[in-house]
Amino acid sequence: MLALLASASLTVKLVMGLLLVASFMSWWYIFIKMFAVKRAAKMAQAFEQEFWNGADLNQLYQRISRDRDRCGELERIFEAGFREFMKLKNQPGTDAATMTESSRRAMKAAYQREMDALESHLSFLATVGSVSPYVGLFGTVWGIMNAFRGLANVAQATLAHVAPGIAEALIATAMGLFAAIPAVIAYNRYTYDIDRLATRFESFMEEFSNILQRQAHKK
């Protein structure tokens, strides 16, 4: 097996190296995204539970702004909106509509940044998923071409002359598929998960805006 790899031609070796790097990177991102998406869902669940169980908004805001980095995405969105609301509330002469509108804008901006961070590297997975089979195929075709060119010098062509070359070339396809299949699965899975998170965040933002509007009018 290792001898097979070692005897491959330079092009095939380069293709295999490229695929190995692509595969390693895609698996790395797969695990990073897996942790990130799971954590985001868990934190959002916990925060929503805490929020709708009637926790004090000021206390919540204090806790979150104390250590932002250990909080979830939804908590940071809430923090951004509530900070904007408090700032405007402390300024005299701002009406309720402006207060809710600007806190909504602040939440929207925070939401977009959070989504961007969550969706980062997903496009890499998509690229690996769609391109690496072709790269592997290229390596295989190249290897088989060499195998058959070697066959041209042999008077008696048997399977034994081409078989090792083809086997070594097919390893490139195997590696391409090994990189592509998990990347495609992970890409589909994570885009779906992140879409669900996005709708969850958006609905929270709408509901929280309503709460803020009520508070603004109450004042």
Binding site: F31, I32, M34, A36, R113
Partner: protein
């Protein structure tokens, strides 16, 4: 401004990615090394005798391996034999040279002796001045000299014989070389003969097998001849049948074409060098051929 902290778990993710790849390679190595035992031989039972041969009944299927295994096991390699003969020749020459040197040395010694004797005789003559003695001694000396001459002649004759023998042996080696050359040529031509014979034989076999499958249509008139080009795989399977020259009776053409397809694994010679000549066969068929 809203800042997003970097996502945690980068290092565990990298470790997991490495683990996945190690697993993948372990799987690859294992699955490639899995089948290492050689395939077992396959036993084949012959259910049907091969088709009979029409034209050449006498030299039936001499195994193709024979000419390869045959090459003159009894006769040693001509080169080696030649070297042996040369070596022997050299030894003989060396021996002859030694003999010659010895003889010359002996002759010298004897001549010296004779001279000494002559000197002694002359001294004796001078002292004794007896002519009879002188004559007798001279006679004796002459006799000795003559004897020596005869000896010399004998030796020279022996030498000449030796030289003649050498020449003869040289001639022999020459003839041996020529003989081995001719033998090799004969062997090559024999192999070529064998090959052409095999070719003819298998062409006959193929034709015979096809002919055994022909079902002659009714109402056939005359003796139409159809020419077909048959493309054959090395396994003997018929790949394509092309009618090169129709016989003029479509029913017969169709019958022959069906027969060719039906005879599909055609008999192929076991020699792979010959199989190449059986890729495209040009076959002629006519109903009254046999």
């Amino acid at each position: 401004m809203h800042s997003v902290p970097t996502q945690p778990g980068r290092l565990p993710a990298a470790a997991l990615a490495i683990l996945v790849h190690l697993l993948f390679f372990a799987l690859l190595v294992y699955s490639v090394n899995w089948k290492t035992h050689a395939p077992e031989p396959v036993m084949v039972e012959l259910w049907q005798a091969p088709p009979p041969i029409s034209n050449q009944p006498a030299p039936v299927q001499k195994p193709q391996v024979a000419p390869v295994a045959k090459p003159e096991p009894a006769v040693p390699d001509p080169d080696i034999a030649l070297a042996e003969q040369k070596r022997k020749l050299k030894e003989q020459q060396a021996r002859a040279a030694e003999l010659l040197a010895q003889q010359q040395a002996e002759q010298k010694l004897e001549q010296q002796k004779i001279e000494q004797q002559k000197a002694a005789q002359q001294q004796a003559l001078a002292q004794q001045k007896i002519e009879q003695q002188k004559i007798e001694q001279q006679k004796i000396a002459q006799q000795k000299v003559e004897q020596q001459k005869v000896d010399q002649q004998k030796k020279q004759a022996a030498l000449r014989q030796l030289i003649a023998q050498q020449a003869q042996s040289e001639i022999k080696t020459e003839s041996a070389r020529a003989l081995s050359n001719s033998r090799q040529a004969a062997l090559a031509s024999k192999q070529a003969d064998e090959q052409s014979r095999m070719k003819a034989e298998y062409q006959d076999r193929i034709k015979a097998k096809i002919r055994s499958k022909i079902i002659l249509p009714d109402g056939l008139q005359g003796n139409p001849q159809a020419r077909f080009e048959v493309s054959v795989l090395p396994t003997g399977d018929v790949m394509q049948v092309k009618l090169l020259h129709p016989s003029g009776q479509p029913a017969y053409d169709n019958a022959v074409e069906r027969a060719i397809l039906k005879a599909s694994p055609l008999p192929m010679p076991p020699d792979p060098a010959l199989v190449g000549e059986f890729r495209d066969l040009d076959l002629k068929f006519s109903p009254n051929e046999n």
